[in-house]
């Protein structure tokens, strides 16, 4: 469902400094219904890779396929099949939660007859019924993140990509968010990025480890953790790239 094919992205460095290879030849393949954790320290290139996958950023080279559509040649088809939560939830602060979700549903192409049911469904699914009438700008970080997730689910996309969905949340909110993401298993193919190891072991069936813009380890969680713990694997991988 998600297939990265040597995705690379170079950002021009400032005057005099070297260009930044934020992602270099990132390749991996994710089957239908899996929850995959993209694991890596800050600055590893997770957001850059994700932004290329969701057609927000053009790769310097390489490409990817989402739900069997090429991100470069069939961007529109990809966008129709994709739910995406950026690292900052993309909320319009002056809108009420319900209004906002129906706006997103419309923009994603949900038919106006199905709008209400679609919005009600995600309000319920993400436990937002109590705040449906509140202004997005007045929500706490935990609720904002949940509205951001609801926004990614409202058009029932087969592929869901979440950039650090638990960052900035308090421990209780983290538990709730993980439970919510876990509930997507099966119906959707989910890619989440994180720098927290436990998140991957708790939630994911597969892992892709990134460091310095490169994939250093990938596979099913069972494979990766067969001989050594994920912590050891992670530290080894980091040592390996220096």
């Amino acid at each position: 469902m998600i297939e990265a094919l040597k995705l690379s992205r170079v950002f021009p460095g400032g005057t005099g400094s070297q260009d930044i290879a934020a992602a270099s030849d990132v390749s991996f393949s994710i089957g239908k219904g899996a929850i995959v954790g993209m694991l890596g320290p800050n600055g590893a290139g997770k957001s850059t890779t994700i932004r290329m996958l969701v057609t927000s950023l053009l790769p310097s080279s390489g490409t990817a396929r989402i739900a069997d559509f090429d991100i470069l040649k069939n961007a529109r088809e990809v966008r129709e099949r994709l739910g995406y939560l950026p690292d900052q939830p993309p909320l319009y602060n002056e809108m009420r939660v319900r209004e906002y979700l129906s706006f997103v549903a419309r923009v994603k192409g949900v038919h106006s007859r199905e709008l209400r049911t679609a919005v009600d469904r995600v309000l319920d699914q993400c436990d937002l019924v109590t705040v449906a009438g509140r202004l997005c700008g007045n929500l706490s970080r935990g609720f904002r993140q949940r509205v951001g997730l609801a926004q990614a689910l409202v058009h029932r996309p087969p592929v869901i990509i979440l950039d650090e969905p638990t960052s900035g949340l308090d421990p209780l909110q983290i538990v709730e968010m993980r439970k919510l993401i876990g509930s997507l298993r099966g119906e959707h193919t989910v890619l989440i990025s994180t720098h927290i190891l436990q998140e991957v072991t708790q939630l994911c069936s597969h892992v892709v480890m990134l460091a310095r813009g490169k994939v250093v380890l990938s596979g099913s969680l069972d494979e990766v953790t067969r001989e050594k713990s994920i912590e050891t694997r992670f530290i080894e991988a980091l040592d390996h790239v220096g």
Binding site: V54, S56, L57, Y84, P86, P90, E94, K108
Partner: protein
């Protein structure tokens, strides 16, 4: 408008009418219009008194009040429109909502169309509110009505054209302030190049002069709406909107 463009349009409109900026702008425009209107009325009064002594001076209300009012409002709009357009896309980039639009199955034209139509509504409401002053003249005195209507139609066209250019500038910027200042500079250059162009003269001067909006507002403030001027403003609108849409398509390359 497609359903998606309409969704953008309605969202944008709702955001305008629920945030204070719109009300501040409207009040500012009304206040300035009131100030200029009443100064012009006072001036006109003085002229009326003089005209009993000097019989040749015209005492046309249109010439002494409406025409200079329209000219002044044009200049006020040059300064006001950047404030309206500066946030159009820059703000979405700052808050991250642009990332949502970018990754949705929306064409750049749908985004731009939705935003531009909402902008038109905002500008039209602002401009038309100031029409209460000329309207009061119609009630309490006897100006010619047709030139007032034509003048306001021209003012709306002018606002729509500068709005389109402002939208284009905003589509290039990720910082509101820069977007606003840049629009203002573009507007002022467009607006003020008229006088030097007139001085240069010749074919080149005439060409430059044709490109400045000032040369196209001259007749409509006098109540004459020429096809040539209408064509000029409509072209400006299309150029602005077209370039804004291209700029958004280009965005993915960054």
């Amino acid at each position: 408008m497609s359903a998606k463009a309409r969704a953008i349009f309605l969202r944008e409109l709702r955001s305008w009418f629920t945030t204070p900026l719109f009300y501040v702008l409207c009040s500012a425009f009304l206040l300035l219009s009131a100030f200029f209107f009443f100064s012009l009325i006072l001036q006109f009064n003085a002229v009326l008194q003089q005209s009993s002594i000097v019989p040749e001076t015209t005492t046309s209300l249109n010439e002494w009040v409406i025409l200079p009012l329209l000219e002044t409002l044009e200049i006020v709009l040059v300064f006001l429109i950047p404030v309206v357009t500066m946030r159009l896309l820059a703000e979405e980039r700052r808050t991250g909502t642009f990332e949502l639009l970018k990754t949705s199955p929306l064409s750049a034209s749908e985004i731009v169309a939705g935003k531009y139509f909402a902008l038109l509504v905002v500008l039209a409401v602002t401009v038309l509110l100031s029409a209460v002053f000329p309207a009061s003249l119609v009630i309490f005195s006897d100006p010619e009505v047709a030139p007032i209507l034509v003048g306001y139609a021209g003012l709306l066209l002018f606002a729509a054209a500068f709005g389109a250019i402002g939208l284009f500038v905003s589509s290039l910027c990720s910082n509101q302030t820069i977007s606003g200042v840049l629009s203002l500079v573009v507007f002022l250059v467009l607006y003020l190049i008229d006088t030097p162009a007139e001085k240069i003269g010749g074919t080149f001067g005439r060409m430059v002069r044709y490109l400045t909006p000032a040369s196209h507002t001259e007749s409509f403030v006098r109540g004459v709406l020429q096809g040539d001027d209408i064509f000029y403003f409509i072209s400006l609108i299309f150029v602005g909107v077209f370039l804004a849409a291209r700029a958004l398509e280009f965005e993915r390359l960054r």
